[in-house]
């Protein structure tokens, strides 16, 4: 075999539109392009001139899979600009909302988008024929996550209850109480999930990555913390742009984000896990160990186990928050808007999501910058493929193509997110 080209024109089981091109010549990979052709939607451009209070609802529309992440990063950035801190039960409720999104998004990816690759099915519906119980458990577990978002946020996709300063309306203790029994079930179901995912056949593939995630004093990170890496990065959120830059490459409608002087890095569940294992609950840690994971893991295919471990954590954390919940008097803290710049970075299911806004007089947004997780992982994905393909070059075209797709899905790429922050030229019709 001499020349070979692997092509996937429309990558399935990811959110958004992407394509893959791998060129092989005499057993070496000469070109890898993970191409994003999702049309740009200009969010940063039309946020200009909008009121600061509109950012959570507008930016949610960047991604239907992780709207809570966009809402959280935007409200934190605005509060940062105004010098406000949201604490106590309001802060806990935000965490609860995020737990819901993690559960729903992780379970969707683990069972419905990624597991079929490992087990050789085209999709979850076909997988359900042989693994009916597991799929039913997945749907039930996912629903617990969705219902948390529903109760706290008003609806699953694009919740309406989040505002700068807190919420519009607070749930009562009773309204949350209905989740208790289901969460107790969900903890067990997600432990089962970790076990099941631990038994999958994993390609032998490890690399040395620079992982980047939030790290908080004592919690597994959702909304707050410093940005750290396993190679010495330790910065406050507002220093993000001093350390990371975006490159625009020809083959993609998304920007590639790189670390200055150091290049590609890795965000998402695996990065969080490697940097925050000690912040997981004992039950989540134990589930991880029983599935054969250490306190660090460098095989991106095993992110499917790590996502399951994080689901255990999110279920436990949600239960804890609900049990300690006392409804506060006010649904939101008072806002006193002022001109300034605000930074926010939170842990979306797929990794860190950075927002920066410049606010002018009367609360108007002058300038916005949004860096979603997928654009940060894009370069790492391409580098993975460069190393992944050569030892497998003798596989059939169909097999190798599928395995490459699987390698991309390790990152749960959300392509809708990755393109929507672009500022672009408009071609005249």
């Amino acid at each position: 075999m001499k020349n070979k080209t692997l092509k996937v024109d429309y990558l399935a089981r990811v959110e958004g539109e992407g394509a893959l091109l791998v060129k092989i010549k005499d057993k070496t990979v000469t070109e890898v392009k993970f191409r994003i052709f999702e049309p740009p939607r200009f969010f940063e451009a039309f946020l200009r001139g909008r009121d600061y209070s509109e950012a959570p609802d507008i930016t949610a529309r960047i991604c239907g899979i992780c709207p809570v992440a966009y809402q959280m990063s935007s409200v934190h950035a605005m509060e940062n600009a105004f010098g406000i801190k949201v604490d106590g039960q309001l802060r806990a409720l935000r965490r609860l909302l995020y737990c819901g999104e993690w559960i729903e998004s992780h379970v969707l990816h683990v069972y419905m988008l990624h597991a079929p690759d490992f087990l050789g099915y085209e999709d979850v519906i076909r997988m359900a024929k042989d693994h009916g119980d597991a799929v039913k458990r997945a749907l039930k577990l996912k629903k617990v996550g969705n219902d948390i978002v529903n109760i706290v946020g008003g609806r699953e996709i694009h919740p309406i209850n989040v505002r700068v300063g807190g919420f519009y309306k607070l749930p009562t203790k009773q309204e949350l109480q209905v989740l208790v029994e289901r969460l107790q079930w969900a903890i067990d179901a997600s432990i089962e999930t970790v076990k099941l995912m631990g038994t999958l056949p994993f390609p032998d593939f490890e690399r040395e990555y620079e992982y980047v995630a939030l790290r908080h004093d004592h919690e597994y990170p959702f909304n707050e913390g410093r940005l750290v890496s396993n190679k010495g990065l330790d910065i406050a959120i507002q220093d993000y742009e001093n350390n990371f830059v975006e490159e625009h490459v020809e083959h993609s409608n998304a920007l590639h984000s790189v670390m200055k002087q150091r290049g590609a890095y890795f965000v998402g569940p695996l990065a969080r896990y490697n940097l925050n294992f000690d912040r997981l609950t004992p039950i989540a840690q134990q589930a991880a160990r029983e599935a054969g994971l250490g306190s660090t893991c460098n095989n991106p295919f095993k992110s499917i186990i790590v996502r399951s471990v994080e689901t255990v954590y999110a279920c436990e954390e949600a239960l804890r928050i609900i049990q300690e919940y006392e409804k506060p008097d006010q649904p939101a803290v008072k806002i006193e808007q002022r001109p300034g710049v605000g930074y926010g970075c939170t842990e979306a299911p797929r990794g860190i999501l950075y927002h920066r806004y410049r606010i002018g007089e009367n609360g108007v947004i002058l300038d916005a910058k949004i860096v979603p997780p997928t654009s940060q992982n894009q370069k790492t994905i391409e580098e993975d493929l460069r190393q992944f393909v050569p030892p497998r070059i003798d596989l059939s075209q169909e097999q190798l193509t599928w395995q490459c797709e699987q390698a991309i899905r390790n990152y749960d790429p959300c392509i809708s997110c990755a393109t929507h922050f672009l500022k672009l030229d408009i071609q005249r019709e």
Binding site: V14, C63, K136
Partner: protein, 259 residues
């Protein structure tokens, strides 16, 4: 029933956030039942398998924003017996239609480093501007019960039963105190189509128009009243420049407040 006798369902994506098609995967209680009744023949977000058309029912998410997509939607139409556009992007152009109000010069002033790599149209338009659409399902995002209703209606050859009255009707029905009275304006409920079960007012906030204009909305009298109450022109403008900014009634109203 043999596999090939089931009606074929296809899901297509154009410029969008994926939220509307995700609604289908969020039907946790109905998903496996739906999959028994229809063959999910093309749904890239969920499956790498692609079954060739023609399709009995195509659900189309997203708006048209590139020359390539303006071509592709015709192929989708040709291969579909029924075509239903789902969500504000597909039925009105979505939030990305905010570009429609900027002049090209203003946009090119925010030029990207390598603009020559990108191809895009200067307007974001709904599916019905390009091809015949059998039914439009509103919402940003769509409501999952309405989605299940639409799918089963088409499979049974009947018209979907979705309301065209305003959010106000839903509010009254669920007994929510009118937001215009309780929280004060603005609330787009009187001019917005129902479908969300008057969600925002029940959370003590005004409706912001996810489902787009209802039939014959009187937006002008609403904004005239709010102006008297002290709302500024810029606030009125932003209110109608949301996810359905390009829907005709909302577009005209926002333009009336543009200086």
């Amino acid at each position: 029933m043999p596999q090939n006798k089931k009606p074929k369902l296809a899901v297509w994506k154009f410029s969008s956030c994926d939220g509307c098609q995700l609604t289908l995967l969020d039907c946790e209680d109905e998903l496996l039942a739906v999959a028994e009744r229809v063959e999910i023949a093309n749904f890239p977000e969920a499956s790498r398998a692609v079954v060739k058309g023609p399709y009995d029912l195509s659900l189309v998410e997203g708006s048209i924003t590139t020359p390539h997509d303006a071509e592709r939607i015709h192929q989708v139409r040709r291969s579909s017996k029924f075509l239903v556009s789902i969500g504000a992007c597909a039925t009105a152009g979505g939030i990305q239609a905010l570009r429609n109000f900027k002049n090209v010069k203003e946009f090119t002033s925010i030029v990207y480093a390598n603009p020559q790599y990108i191809e895009t149209l200067n307007k974001s338009t709904p599916i019905a501007d390009h091809v015949f659409v059998d039914f439009e399902l509103r919402g940003c995002p769509i409501n999952k019960y309405q989605l299940v209703e639409v799918i089963s209606a088409f499979l049974h050859g009947r018209k979907p039963n979705t309301p065209s009255y305003s959010v106000c009707v839903e509010c009254k029905r669920r007994g929510t105190v009118c937001g215009l009275v309780a929280v004060g304006p603005p609330c787009l409920g009187p001019v917005t189509q129902a479908g969300c079960n008057a969600l925002c007012p029940s959370y003590h906030r005004g409706c912001f128009g996810c489902y787009g204009p209802k039939e014959t909305p009187n937006t002008a009298s609403l904004t005239a009243h709010w102006s008297e109450l002290g709302m500024k022109e810029i606030e009125l403008l932003r209110l109608f420049r949301g996810f359905n900014a390009n829907a005709e009634a909302f577009r005209k109203e926002s333009e009336a407040h543009e200086k």
